[in-house]
């Protein structure tokens, strides 16, 4: 079953055409890897899929219904985008991890937060850490947990392992694998050769067009 479909999508900023008539489908449970040179439009595809920007032409479908027909808030809770260099907000890690509960007006489930922290090799007392004292790898792990506290139907990953050391990279890989195994569709952008080599379904983008 198709979960996300791009139909003749173009995206232009001022005079610059970033995507040209891009069409593709992603099935439920897929793990799609987008590759291509910098500036080719990969991140734009993810941002469009996350409804953070709108196409200048064409339609995006989510579960066979036009994306624009969904409530953007509900849509983004199902199709979650994780940034390349996430900015954590507030003062502590805790503020970031309770945010998904706050926006849903739900009671905080400490057990779920502890479980996820453990999965990314962080202890429970990490919650009270000042966000400014975290390394890049720790920030990225916290950001990923923030995205999956409520498991999304689609997880969009924008070069989330770029700049991480091997240890952090492996932890993030394991977490993504686990999320995928739980049924979440993954669409990721990467430049990492090891990720490209082990990827199953690859889509190559060049100058705003799908070439393979």
């Amino acid at each position: 079953m198709t979960i996300i479909e791009f139909k003749h999508i173009s995206y232009q900023v001022k005079e610059k055409q970033i995507l040209h008539d891009v069409s593709f489908k992603v099935n439920q449970g897929d793990f799609l890897t987008l590759v291509g040179p910098s500036g080719s439009g990969k991140s734009t595809i993810l941002k469009l899929a996350a409804n953070l920007i709108s196409p200048t032409a064409g339609d995006i479908f989510y579960q066979d219904k036009k994306m624009v027909e969904y409530n953007p808030i509900q849509y983004r809770r199902e199709v979650s985008y994780c940034f390349q260099q996430p900015s954590l907000f507030g003062k502590t890690v805790r503020e970031n991890l309770i945010f998904p509960y706050e926006i849903r007006k739900q009671a905080i489930v400490e057990k779920r937060i502890d479980e996820l922290l453990k999965l990314v090799d962080l202890s429970a007392d990490f919650l009270n850490k000042d966000i400014n004292s975290l390394s890049g790898g720790e920030k990225q792990r916290v950001a990923l947990i923030r995205n999956i506290i409520f498991l999304p139907k689609v997880l969009l990953l924008d070069e989330v392992t770029t700049g991480l050391d091997d240890g952090s990279k492996e932890i993030v890989h394991q977490l993504i694998k686990r999320v995928h195994e739980q049924g979440t569709t993954i669409i990721r952008v990467t430049h990492d050769q090891s990720e490209i080599q082990t990827a199953g379904h690859i889509m190559q983008i060049k100058q705003g067009r799908i070439i393979k």
Binding site: L52, Q74, R76, R77, E102, I103
Partner: protein, 252 residues
């Protein structure tokens, strides 16, 4: 009132003060001579006109004329506050609503509590003071909103991406902007009487009123401005932040 009379000759002699600023501009090559002269002549013309208009309104002493005057003041203040909003998607209505609610609530409380009487001689100058201070607060709020949306662009995007509504995603920006807008009034309240003797109090002292009575009015003005600027900043902030998003709840 005798000590309040300013003769025309005194005014002409006082014009020498303008010459001081023109001389500084010329000597320092600031290129402000034309601006200074224009602003001085505009001020003279505006004040002469407003002097006669107020004389007419005070003499007529009609409620509808007083209300129209307050509406004109509020519209002008809103127009000027709106001009200070750097957001290309700004709306004049935001400023009008914030100015009108802030002014009329504060004015209403002052009249209801008997601090001022509902007569044009008291209502119009007080409306001018309230709307003018609100105008500055609203302008500051708009500027701070714009700067903060630029600084915290990524953070807002991330919150939206997590499924936040636009209000929660903008909350730190809103708090920062409202605080920035209210700060000058709070600071001014802290130093009133120590650093400056404000216009209302100075005017009464000039008119020969006992300074002990004059401070009562100044205390009233301080309360009034705190209320008006808080209302103006909160209302304008909560209305204007929405203009940074489109109908798909994306950052513009």
């Amino acid at each position: 009132m005798k000590n309040m009379m300013v003769s025309n000759l005194s005014l002409v002699l006082a014009f020498a003060l303008v010459l001081v600023s023109i001389a500084i501009s010329a000597k320092e090559k600031l290129g402000l001579t034309k601006d200074i002269l224009t602003s001085v002549f505009r001020a003279i013309i505006q004040l002469v006109i407003i002097g006669f208009v107020l004389k007419f309104i005070f003499h007529a002493d009609q409620l509808w004329l007083t209300i129209v005057s307050t509406l004109v003041i509020i519209f002008n203040a809103s127009w000027n506050a709106n001009k200070r909003d750097p957001n290309p998607h700004c709306s004049l209505w935001n400023s009008i609503i914030a100015e009108a609610i802030g002014t009329y609530v504060t004015l209403g409380l002052l009249i209801f509590s008997g601090v001022i009487k509902p007569i044009p001689m008291q209502v119009i100058p007080i409306t001018g003071m309230i709307a003018g201070n609100e105008m500055v607060a609203i302008g500051l709020c708009y500027k701070a909103l714009h700067d903060s949306f630029n600084d915290l662009h990524q953070q807002v995007l991330e919150k939206l991406a997590l499924g936040s509504d636009i209000k929660l995603a903008s909350m730190p920006i809103l708090r920062r902007s409202i605080k920035t807008a209210m700060q000058p009034t709070i600071d001014s309240a802290k130093t009133v009487g120590l650093v400056n003797l404000p216009g209302m109090m100075s005017g009464l002292i000039f008119a020969g009123i006992n300074p002990v009575y004059a401070i009562k009015y100044q205390i009233m003005i301080t309360f009034m401005l705190l209320s008006a600027t808080s209302l103006g900043a909160v209302i304008s902030g909560y209305l204007a932040y929405k203009n940074y998003f489109n109908e798909q709840m994306q950052l513009r």
